[in-house]
Amino acid sequence: MNLETPKKFSALINQAYQVANEVFRPISRKYDNAEHSYPKELDMLAAVMDGMNDGDIHGGAGAGKLSKDKTRQSEGIKNGTNMSTVLGLTELCWGDVGLALSLPRQGLGNAAIAAVANEEQLVRFKNTWASMAITEPGAGSDSANISTTAKEDGDHYILNGEKIFVTSGERSDAVVVWATLDKALGKAAIKSFVVEKGTPGMEVSRLEHKLGIKASDTATINFCDCRVPKENLLGNPEVDVKKGFGGVMETFDNTRPVVASMAVGLARAALEKTKELLSGSLDQATAKNSYASPINNASYVDAELYRMEADLEAARLLTLKAAWMADNGLPNSMDASIAKAKAGRTCNYITLKCIELCSSVGYSELELLEKWGRDSKILDIFEGTQQIQLLIIARRLLNKTSAELK
């Protein structure tokens, strides 16, 4: 057993850290203020990121190359794309979550493509920046209940419906859209479609004003008799009632650890900054017996910092575990949910507590702590809310169907 970060990822982690520290942090406040304006600094960066991704066979720091290794050739243990992705994104989000989400070609739609696309599609969409469109005005967490429809018509599917909360929905080249082939057949009929920008009948109709991650655009997209080529349906077009939701849901096994890693990076940023601001008023930073005498003998603020650090470490390790399982072809649905739930709640708690501990310094816009406190909330919501993760974990532990445990 070895739970240390493998040395082979040091270069990748360092590159991502450099981007976070040199590019993201200096423009973090600027794009928090200038919501909806495109961070043009990212264009330059996108090329660098592509270079990082292409140069490293183990995948880069973005979510673009995630996939579960289903055809394991060798017997040995693998630390692959899932591991490198979570490690890279932790660093990037230590810099800025909104900007990390805005990185071209690293979208969650790309993760969906990687998870369910066939070989031909993988090649065709290789350089496409894809965002992900699942949520509708009437269906969020209840994603089996979406009402966007896809009707077969010759060589095309015709899409109709409205998607909201599409991250990078305006800026991306294409959108991966969840739609049902036949609502009467239930969730097994839900398929994902790659809809390229400029397709007639697709319109970005609105951008949200948000609590946080303002550097990232969040779009509403309307589909009105939008014709999508048949070959853009990801994976298998057959409706397999037995397999149910499996196909499209598999995406989450890969993306939930990624969102968890974003939370880990953000929480680390807040905790580090807080320790820095508190130094001088802390025993922990100075005293020789830090990490020694029992926590009950420490001051309140020291004890609070210890607890937050323990929670953060747990979130980080659970995230690595879920990614490690994906890399090694082990079923990781429950572990992905555990990582997401732990990291989401921990990040939100830490960023908010850090503001409180730093008093008005933490609350002021002169520091980034208040921004992080706003950014963190989304990480406990998207890719499955805290409550959805708890449901998934509970159903698995208690052996309940989604009809029994609602």
């Binding site: 057993m1 070895n2 390790l317 509970a394």
Partner: protein, 441 residues
């Protein structure tokens, strides 16, 4: 008829012999040694008479275990095949032998002789004693000890402590003992009547801090003179050997904290029963040291290799492992209960308020596990593990108590009665936040 000691020993051997892992990989040294010892061991009672420890094995240098070989530097949660085999046996022992007598052991405030004997057939202590001294350890084995501790605690935490206490003493002497100390004490742990032994760190004071001990060890001539009271000493009444932590005083100056090997026959030593809220099967005791004089050679780790911090942290990781095993037992108990218990026309597990409590227990348990395993693997690999052990203890102290209190809550009034083990686990797990010493990986 239930399985007796001989029956269990035979079934263990059978398991080793029939294991496909053993066929596939060939019997490893460790397994061979354990199998041999299982057949060799008789089933006579452990002698409780005051023992005279004699240097049976003269070593020139202390035998030191090294870090296990790492194939590659990859992140890997797998355990070795050897560890899998050991776990299989300990888990069976835990569910078939320990769990059924756990309520009885709690009431009797002791671990029955019979349980000690059956546990001996598992040969667990061999992992903590170097090969050169007759044990089976070629490398450091904190991970194996952590897994064993967890699995024993799954059966019963108090019993696990009783069984692990002597192993902890052997492990500490293996890690830091001088050649003389190792030769004198370690071989006896492999005898048929291996000594009962325990580690005394805690003291009866609120806000106890192992880095601020009140027990003192005054340097007088060629001796240390120990004074003070130790609490939370498992199998304290029966121990023949104690590792006692004390603050060294030299020329009226307090220096560092140190650990001393004290034999139970030493003058000035007295013990008193100290049954507590939980872990009652571990027969907790207070140990009083009234001008107890020990030779300077009895100080553990005379050389610079000894680290009091690592000694404390190895113990903390032991408590973390106990917490993990006990919390896993709770989770495995409440799941079927909540699935079977019907209220308002359906199993209570189909209510989110119940189901989400169980999800939270799982998240917290896995958090405890990851922090503990990381710290243990760092310890075993010879890396600094102070921070990791501390954070693991912080996590386990808080979350284990949460899991325990919710374990009772989920059973409602039934959980409050002795009809179910959850009330015992509740009492047992309260100790995690305050325990120091006692056991050691």
């Amino acid at each position: 008829m239930s399985r007796d000691a001989t029956g269990f020993a035979l079934s263990v051997l059978n398991q080793f012999a029939g294991s496909s892992l053993a066929d596939k990989f060939g019997l490893r040294k460790l397994i061979e040694t354990i199998s041999y010892s299982s057949t060799k061991k008789g089933f006579q009672a452990v002698g409780l008479a005051s023992r005279q420890f004699k240097a049976v094995n003269k070593l020139l240098n202390p035998a030191r275990l090294t870090a296990p070989k790492q194939g590659n530097n990859l992140f890997d949660l797998n355990i070795s095949d050897e560890q899998k085999m050991i776990r299989e046996n300990v888990q069976r022992f835990s569910t078939e032998v320990i769990r059924p007598i756990s309520a009885e052991a709690n009431d009797a405030c002791k671990t029955a002789q019979d349980i000690f004997l059956q546990a001996q057939t598992l040969g667990l202590i061999y992992c903590s004693i170097p090969e050169s001294l007759g044990g089976a350890a070629a490398q450091r084995s904190q991970m194996t000890n952590a897994l064993i501790t967890e699995d024993l605690a799954y059966g019963d935490m108090g019993t696990a402590i009783s069984l692990m206490a002597p192993i902890g003493v052997a492990s500490a002497i293996s890690q830091w003992g001088s050649a003389e100390q190792q030769g004198k004490y370690l071989p006896t742990f492999l005898d048929d009547d291996s000594p009962v032994a325990s580690i005394a760190v805690n003291e009866p004071t609120p806000l106890f801090d192992p880095y601020d001990l009140k027990t003192t060890a005054k340097v007088i001539g060629n001796s240390y003179v120990l004074n003070g009271v130790k609490s939370l000493v498992p199998v304290g009444l029966n121990s023949e050997l104690y590792l006692v932590a004390a603050k060294v005083i030299e020329d009226n100056q307090e220096t560092e904290q140190a650990v001393f090997i004290v034999e139970s026959s030493t003058l000035g030593l007295s013990v008193k029963e100290d049954n507590s809220m939980g872990i009652r099967a571990s027969s907790l005791a207070r140990l009083k040291l009234d001008n107890v004089e020990v030779n300077k050679a009895q100080r553990l780790g005379l050389d610079k290799e000894f680290s009091y911090q690592a000694f404390v942290d190895n113990s903390r990781l032991g408590w973390c492992s106990l917490a993990i095993g006990t919390c896993q037992a709770i989770l495995d108990y409440v799941i079927p209960y909540c699935n079977e218990r019907v209220a308002f026309g359906e199993p209570i597990s189909q209510r989110q308020s119940v189901a989400f409590m169980i999800s939270d227990m799982k998240i917290d348990l896995e958090s405890m596990r990851m922090l503990t395993l990381r710290a243990v693997s760092r310890a075993e690999n010879g890396l600094n593990f102070q921070k990791e052990a501390f954070l693991a203890k912080v996590m386990c102290a808080e979350k284990a108590m949460n899991i325990a209190t919710n374990g009772v809550q989920l059973l409602g009034g039934h959980g409050f009665t002795k009809e179910h083990p959850v009330e015992r686990w509740y009492r047992d797990l309260r100790v995690i936040g305050l325990a120091e010493g006692g056991i050691h990986l």
